[in-house]
Structure formats: structure tokens, C-alpha cells
């Protein structure tokens, strides 16, 4: 579903870290809608949001956020960007958050998407409408087919199919947004560490001679968890994903077309082309 670009009030973008929040902001503005960024202190680099209307909130300042959002006339919200779990010292509490605390703690106990779904529910119970980045800015998701110059060969396609199949099998356990497969062998599975850390691990294993495959063999696959609400935790890739994959000696990166945010697509394609990697969007529901 694509949301009409002409609704009243700016779109509120609650921003975690990384390049995706500004990319979503730019894409929404290109579609003619105003934005207001709520940058989470400690997660967001000031430079990343400097070009957009923004204000700062701390994790836990639900009351402050609510006041600011209402003052700005934001009824529609998206939640995007990296949310590395805050340490206790980064958290600032206010009264509204204390009231919501039991729900927030319950949300924190599950996986990351439980956390985000939980926060989403709290926002919706408060009268906000929570949208997905793929709804407000569909042009920032991966298209179907290759992005850039290189294409997966038959062996890579087979690794991609196996990877997506395994991620689907793990999905009921609320884990496995990404994995690395080489010649049918599962080299790494992502859980709490994140995709970049998983790729650094593969690079280190390869350096230690523990992969046993030549460079240029193997793929990293990323997929949304099947049961997750895509409004809250769409997987994303960016130039760094490609560079980490190149460093890990992989042939390329495969994602679900329309179900993955591509941050900085131009830099991503440059990184892929110059390192000889493919970036491939597999049509959702495509046969294994």
C-alpha cells in the first residue's frame, strides 16, 4: 500500500542511527510531503539530520515526544534506523514513560521486532498512525533483479535460494534476518549481533583459513522475518553492507525486492560495481 503524499501535517520520522532515516526523509520530501525528524539522542549523528527539520528526544522521553509531535501536527509516524539497545545510562525517563513502562518492559523482553512492535502499539494506543518506510517511500526499497553491473551466477542463485529457505525455517523463532551461504554451506547466521558484525566474523574466519572456499564464492542473504510487522523492522542494506561483504570475500548480496530498504543506492551501486559484487533483489514469493 502506498500512502498518498498530500496528507495534512508533516510525517513524523522517529530516527535511530545510520543512513536510512535521512534517506527516508529525503524520499518522503521528494514525494511532496513535509517531515519532522525526532532524532534519538545517543543513536543519531547530528550531521545526519542537520538538513531536515528535526528535534532531539531521548529514549524514555515518551511524554516529551508526544508534546512535540502534537505541537508539530504529526499524526503519522514512521520508525526507522538502527536501534542498538541502549545501556541504562543513555535512558532518560519521564512521567509518561513511567506510565507506559510495564508495556515497554514486556516489549523489551522479546526479540527486536517485539520491541518495535510494542513501541508501535503504544504509539497507536496514543492516537498516532504508524506507517512503514516502504509505504511512505516505496522508491527506497530494493527493486526486483540486479542493482548495479554484476549478476549472480547459477551457483550464487542456488546459495541465495538455500539462504532464503533457511531464513524462512528460522523465522518462527524470531531470528535470522541474515545469513551467509557458500556452496550450499551455511557459514554464518545473524542473531543479536547484526549483519555487519556477522560479515566481519566471516571475514575473520576466511582470514584464519576456516572457510575453505575461494574468494568470490558465497552470498549474504537478508530477508524480513516472516511474521514480523514490516512497518517496524524492514531489513536494510547500504554501501557498508556491500563493503563488509566484499571484505568477507563474498560474491554478492541478496535481498527481498520491495521488502528491504536500500540506503544510499548510488553509493551502494558504486561499491558493488567497483568491488565486483552483485546486489540482487529477489521478487517476494519467488520459487526457491
Amino acid at each position: 500500500m502506498t500512502i498518498a503524499a498530500t496528507q495534512d501535517g508533516p510525517l513524523g520520522i522517529i530516527c535511530g542511527g545510520g543512513a536510512i532515516p535521512p534517506a527516508v526523509a529525503a524520499a518522503v520530501m521528494r514525494r511532496g510531503r513535509r517531515v519532522m525528524l525526532f532524532a534519538l539522542r545517543g543513536f543519531v549523528d547530528a550531521q545526519a539530520v542537520a538538513a531536515y527539520p528535526h528535534c532531539w528526544i531521548a529514549v524514555g522521553q515518551f511524554g516529551r515526544f508526544r508534546r512535540l509531535a502534537r505541537a508539530e501536527g504529526c499524526r503519522d509516524l514512521v520508525l526507522v534506523g538502527g536501534l542498538v539497545r541502549p545501556s541504562i545510562r543513555q535512558v532518560r525517563l519521564d512521567w509518561a514513560t513511567l506510565v507506559a513502562m510495564p508495556r515497554i518492559i514486556r516489549a523489551f523482553r522479546g526479540g527486536d521486532d517485539h520491541l518495535l512492535t510494542g513501541i508501535g502499539r503504544i504509539l497507536e494506543a496514543d492516537g498516532f498512525r504508524v506507517l512503514g518506510a516502504h509505504e511512505v517511500a516505496p522508491d527506497i526499497t530494493a527493486p526486483s533483479g540486479p542493482l548495479g553491473r554484476h549478476r549472480p551466477d547459477a551457483e550464487a542463485m542456488s546459495d541465495i535460494a538455500r539462504g532464503f529457505e533457511m531464513l524462512a525455517a528460522m523465522s518462527p523463532f524470531d531470528v535470522g534476518q541474515a545469513a551467509v551461504i557458500g556452496k550450499g554451506r551455511v557459514l554464518a547466521v545473524e542473531a543479536a549481533e547484526g549483519t555487519d558484525a556477522m560479515l566481519r566474523r566471516v571475514a575473520a574466519l576466511r582470514e584464519a583459513g576456516r572457510i575453505g572456499l575461494p574468494r568470490g564464492v558465497g552470498v549474504v542473504v537478508k530477508a524480513p522475518k516472516q511474521r514480523q510487522d514490516r512497518r517496524f523492522d524492514l531489513p536494510s542494506i547500504g554501501p557498508d553492507t556491500v563493503l563488509h561483504a566484499a571484505h568477507a570475500g563474498l560474491a554478492g548480496v541478496a535481498v527481498v525486492a520491495g521488502g528491504t530498504i536500500v540506503a544510499e543506492p548510488q553509493r551502494l551501486v558504486e561499491a558493488a560495481d567497483s568491488n565486483g559484487l552483485f546486489v540482487f533483489g529477489r521478487a517476494d514469493g519467488e520459487a526457491n
Copy 2:
């Protein structure tokens, strides 16, 4: 199946790294059978095998191994110990290995258990009988129930059940002998990196404030892959597993009773008791 202890000829033990090969040797000798250790150069610490009849072979010296084994009258073999994939420089080739090479290369291309199954098949084609460590030394596998003073509480039992269930779901993909679960959330999944490296990762994530669970919550579960031949790649735990789990802030370690080798059980129990961790053997096939 338990193998009679009085067969002719010593049991040949092809040894990878770690504490398990000497533990298997000791357990076999306690049952009254002679042993001959074939220590893989580059993987085995000389001290570990010093107390047992042994000779050294290099990876790739299949011909040398065959001559030595026949000279010693070893018809029965077990393959145990860590087999971190060798870098090319550690490999010494001989003619018999060159002949077997196409099969070895095919074996290397699959997962670790393909590698070991492949080597096992080559040995069997050559007239050896390949046995599992659990067959020649059943007393070195984990018993059912708690090992040591501590027991899993209801929350840990629920994490254990979820962990085994997830490992079973991943098993068709030849991956996932171990995972870390905390309050139902999957924190880490093992692939090519090994259990200790996975536990170090959990420790680092916890230190970075990215686990979001108090210390003493979470379990590491280990299980044989369902379709693997248990003769070749039984999972194992030892004192180091417990210490890594303690460092990662976990409540304990759970394994499949009778399907997991326990290296140095006394030191393992001491490590568990003094760090407040449980070590729990779940009866194979126990309901989730």
C-alpha cells in the same frame, strides 16, 4: 550400541585438537582395550597425547596413516577432536591422498559433517571399521539430568526447549549445533565459527549493553545435527564451554544426554559449580 571391549588389535584414535581425544583414549583403556593415537600434526598439542601410545600424521598423509595403522593392527577407528580447517601450508600430501583427493575435495565442499562423513567413507572403503566415540566410550557422554550442583529453573527449561526446537528446525540446513537463548529470544546461532567463538560474541554483546537481560539469564544449547552420522561429529562440551558460558553471563549449558561428549567431566563440574551454572543433559527425544 556399545562395542565389546575385548576385540583384537588396539583401537585407532585419529585425533584432532582439544581435550576430547585423550579423554576418549582414557575411557577406552578403562574398559580394557588398547589404543593407538594418530595425532594430526598442527591440531594436537604434544602434551595431550604424551601419556598414550601415539604417532604423528599430517593432514593429507593418508598413505602414511594406512601403513602405520596396519602395522599396529588397528582395524577399528574413531575420529575425535577439533578439526579447524587447515590452511594450505599445514597440509602435506602423499600419493595415497592424491589418489583419494577427488573424494576429499568433494567432502570438503559440504559442511563439517560432510567432511568427516566423507573421510569416514574413504576409511571404510579402505577396510577400516569406523566407530563413534559414544560407542567405544559411552561413559564419556553426558548423562540425563543435571551434572553438578545447579539445576535449570522453569525459565531456563523453557529457553532450553526453545533452543532445541530451533536447532531441529535448522538441522536440514546442516548448521546449528549450538545457539544461545535468553528469555525466549535467540541471542546467537553457531555456524562456522564454533561454540566458544559464539559464546565470546555473546559476552561482547552483553558488555556492550546489547543483550538487555540480567546476568544469569540465558542458556547455551548444543545438539547433534539430526541427520548427521553420530560416529563422526558428536558435539562436545568441556570446562572451557562452561567458562565461556559463565563469561557470557548465562545461567547454564544444555546438551543431549548420550549424544554429547563431556571432556574432563570433573573440571567441568567444578567450573559449573563454582560459577553457579547448571549443565543439563536432556534425554534424547524428550518432549519440548
